[in-house]
Symmetry: C2
C-alpha cells in the first residue's frame, strides 16, 4: 500500500495529538524517549512494540541502552512522516507505562 507524507498542516495537527513525541526535521520523523526501571523492563517494552510493529508492517528505528529506549518513526517510502507513523506512535503510547 502506497502511503503519502503528511503535509506541514496535517503534521502539526497530529503532533498536537501526540504530545510525548517531537518532530525531528533532519530525520523527517517523530521521536520519543522512554525510561524504565531497568533493562529487563525496557526490553520487555521493546518486545511489545516489536509485535505491534510487525503486525502493522511498519517498523521503528530505535536505540536502547540499559533502561532507556529512543524511538524514531518515519516512513522512508513516503520521504517523511506518514499516517503509519502516527498510528504506530499512538499504539506505542497506549502500551507505554504512564510514569
Amino acid at each position: 500500500m502506497q502511503v503519502s507524507r503528511l503535509d506541514e498542516a496535517d503534521r502539526n495537527a497530529v503532533l498536537e495529538q501526540l504530545p510525548l513525541w517531537s518532530y525531528d526535521a533532519d530525520a523527517k520523523g517523530i521521536r520519543r524517549t522512554l525510561r524504565f526501571a531497568d533493562f529487563a523492563e525496557a526490553f520487555g517494552f521493546m518486545a511489545r512494540v516489536a509485535i505491534l510493529a510487525e503486525k502493522a508492517d511498519h517498523h521503528p528505528e530505535w536505540f536502547n541502552v540499559y533502561n532507556r529506549v529512543e524511538i524514531l518513526l518515519t516512513t522512508h517510502d513516503a520521504g517523511g512522516l506518514s499516517r503509519r507513523d502516527v498510528d504506530l506512535a499512538a499504539a506505542i503510547d497506549a502500551i507505554a507505562p504512564t510514569a
Copy 2:
C-alpha cells in the same frame, strides 16, 4: 564486581579473537553490525542477546532498524573496553547466524 579497562596490548590481543568486531576509539568500545532476513529475525536475535546480557548483568548499547542490528559494547564503569565486553561479544558471536 569492579572491572578494569583492558590496556592497549590486551585490547589488541582480544580483538584478534573477535574478527567480526571493530574497536571504536571515540566510543571506547567494540562494534558489530548484523543483518537478518527481516525485522522478525533481527528482533528474535535481539531477544536472545537481551537474555544473555541480563544473565551477565552487562548490557549493550544497540540500534535496530528493520533487519539491521548495530551493537556497541563498552564498560562505562571501567571507562572503556573490559573483559565483560569481550565475554559478551563472544557470547553474541556464538548465537549469531553464520551467513
